[in-house]
């Protein structure tokens, strides 16, 4: 309140007044002061409202304002009282004012959005709540103006965000949807036309299962019931739908649950992607892979059979050979062929056709080599300790040939006469990922000075070259009892060619 002077009521000399009049005057003064206090309080309240308040007459002249109006527009109260609505509202013309005044007078109240111009020329969007009042013979418009700049900004941001969302939803090739807690579509993006041929309006109110063949609907509704009961997300759920034209379309569905304010499941929102083409390509690829697998298996099988035929041809040839040395050469050659044939046999029995298990392969091979020398089990015993290690054909074949040569050498030379003994073979995977093969026998042993690197025999030359050059490994020989070959290498050695 600016006017802080108390209104003084001029009274005649109290002593000159009769007692009763003096009492009346005292009461009148008390009422006046009380009314003045109420008026000050009201004015204070009005001045400190968050809304600007304008009182205007029928000619749009501003007749009073509150403090907020002054601070919002940057004028002093005196300046504003010399202005009209047209000075502060760039949108209001006289015609518009006349119409608005008539409407206000008719309705008593009205709300509108307009703009106010500040003293420094800024434009502020405002919401006006106008009230008509007739007071003391004057007609007034008491208008509350609220600055809605922030509200407008929030609205524009929301509108922009909605627009962005809508353009994303409508430009993506995926179909965006929303279902309620009962699985009924409540929103369907226009892309459904491209995917299933329906308009969004045709699908809203339906469930996803209405768009599927009966069997598929039963399968998927079971899955969806389980997912929604646990309020889980739907992740890449493949499902078959029927296009409006009757053909089948494979969709991949993903979605997340959403909840109401009480935390109850309100529905799911998600996307569907047409993966029909992808599924067809996948099926063709799978068929092609199956066909290649069949061919590869057949190839291994025939290779093994052809090697068996070569071995049989050698058997036929051997019938007419009497020379012991020649017979020995044929038998060694046959064993080498069988070693390689067994790799192919194990490969066509393997699951992935490119790797085989060393335990199976070396176990069968070692027993076959022992059998080929027709030595009874009570004379030479074989101890195998081979881990299950998966290796490629490029590792298995040299491993097999090395074992064949080392075992053959032992069986030929380490147990002369009726000497009994044992051969031991272990193959283990080292902690560093390498493979360690250890072959030993407790036969008569090799001379301490034996230099296997310069040995002239084909068998040991093969062992050395296969270990060091083919497997890129190392080989050590211990000639103290028992005789032991230790070969270390790593797998894989090089790019696969199968």
């Amino acid at each position: 309140m600016k006017d802080k002077k108390e209104t003084k009521v001029l009274l005649p000399e109290e002593s000159a007044m009769p007692h009763r009049e003096r009492a009346v005057l005292k009461g009148f003064e008390r009422d006046w002061k009380s009314a003045e206090k109420a008026l000050r309080l009201t004015r204070f309240t009005v001045d400190n409202l968050s809304d600007a308040v304008y009182w205007m007459d029928s000619k749009a002249r501003i007749v009073d304002v509150n403090e907020t109006a002054c601070s919002m527009l940057g004028f002093t109260r005196e300046e504003l009282l010399n202005l009209t609505v047209f000075n502060i509202d760039p949108d209001f013309t006289e015609d518009k004012w006349v119409k608005a005044w008539d409407t206000l007078k008719d309705r008593g109240k009205m709300t509108l959005e307009t703009k106010h111009r500040t003293k420094d020329g800024r434009i502020i969007p405002v919401e006006i709540m106008a009230n008509y009042l007739s007071f003391g013979g004057r007609e007034l418009d008491c208008a509350f103006a609220r600055d809605i700049t922030e509200h407008r900004r929030a609205e524009e941001a929301l509108q922009e965000s909605e627009e962005r969302f809508r353009s994303l939803v409508e430009s993506t090739s995926d179909w965006v949807w929303e279902v309620d807690a009962q699985g009924v579509y409540t929103y369907v993006s226009p892309q459904i036309r491209n995917l299933l041929g329906y308009s969004p309006e045709e699908v809203i109110g339906k469930t996803p299962f209405d768009l599927m063949p009966t069997e598929e609907a039963r399968r998927i509704s079971g899955i969806f019931a389980s997912i929604s009961a646990n309020k889980k997300s739907i992740k890449n759920l493949e499902n078959i739908n029927r296009h409006k034209d009757g053909r089948l379309v494979v969709l991949e569905t993903s979605g997340v649950p959403f909840y109401d304010s009480q935390g109850n499941l309100a529905g799911y929102r998600g996307i569907d992607r047409d993966i029909t083409e992808r599924k067809l390509v996948e099926e063709r690829l799978e068929a092609s892979i199956r066909e290649k697998e069949t061919l590869l298996r057949e190839l291994y099988h025939r290779t093994k059979n052809n090697m068996q035929v070569i071995s049989n041809l050698i058997d036929l040839q051997v019938i007419s050979v009497n020379d012991e040395q020649t017979l020995k050469l044929f038998r060694e050659t046959q064993n080498r062929i069988k070693t390689m044939a067994l790799v192919h046999e194990k490969l066509y029995q393997s699951k992935d056709l490119s790797n085989l298990n060393l335990k199976d392969y070396i176990g069968d091979l070692a027993n076959a080599v022992l059998g080929s020398y027709q030595l009874s089990a009570d004379r030479i015993s074989l101890h195998l300790d081979v881990e299950s290690i998966s290796v490629s054909i490029d590792t298995a074949t040299p491993c097999g040939l090395i074992i064949n040569e080392l075992m053959s050498n032992s069986l030929k030379h380490a147990f002369p006469g009726d000497r009994r003994g044992e051969v031991c073979l272990s193959i283990r995977q080292s902690e560093e990922g390498g493979i360690e093969m250890c072959f030993s026998d407790n036969g008569i042993g090799l001379p301490k000075s034996f230099d296997f690197r310069n040995a002239r025999s084909l068998g040991l030359t093969l062992v050395k070259n296969l270990s060091e050059k083919q497997l890129k490994g190392t080989i050590e020989l211990r000639t103290d009892h028992p005789t032991e070959f230790r070969i270390k290498f790593r797998e894989p050695l090089y790019r696969k060619r199968v």
Binding site: N465, L466, Q470, K472, L493, Y494, R497
Partner: protein, 118 residues
């Protein structure tokens, strides 16, 4: 020098070359080893398989050997496709043989590069 990742094939070829009177200074199974050994051993010729162990192919190894020490290369391969043949020609090979090898023609090619009395 022989570069061949099937060591038994390499050993057999080595025996044949020795029978023809050549000395096989080294047998290697990878392209990287071949480049290294060619620099160390400086052989008169290299008989090189195209698809071999290691990170580089026989053709890449041959390029490096030709660039570093200028040794003639004879290629041998189990793959008779046109692309492999063109790659071998582009590598200025002194010979190109598809396996199984025709040893008479290999001998002729080798003799034209390295006469047996050298």
């Amino acid at each position: 020098m022989i570069v061949e990742d099937e060591i038994i094939e390499a050993m057999f070829l080595g025996k044949i070359l020795e029978l023809w009177g050549y000395e096989v200074c080294e047998i290697t199974t990878s392209g990287e080893d071949a480049v290294h050994e060619a620099e160390v051993e400086r052989p008169d010729a290299v008989i090189m398989d195209i698809y071999i162990h290691g990170k580089i192919s026989g053709i890449e190894a041959a390029d490096k050997i030709r660039f570093k020490v200028g040794i003639p290369i004879i290629f041998m391969t189990g793959y008779s496709d046109e692309e492999t043949k063109q790659k071998a020609c582009a590598a200025h090979a002194a010979g190109y043989f598809v396996k199984p090898l025709n040893y008479n023609r290999l001998k002729e090619a080798l003799t034209s590069i390295v006469p047996q009395d050298s």
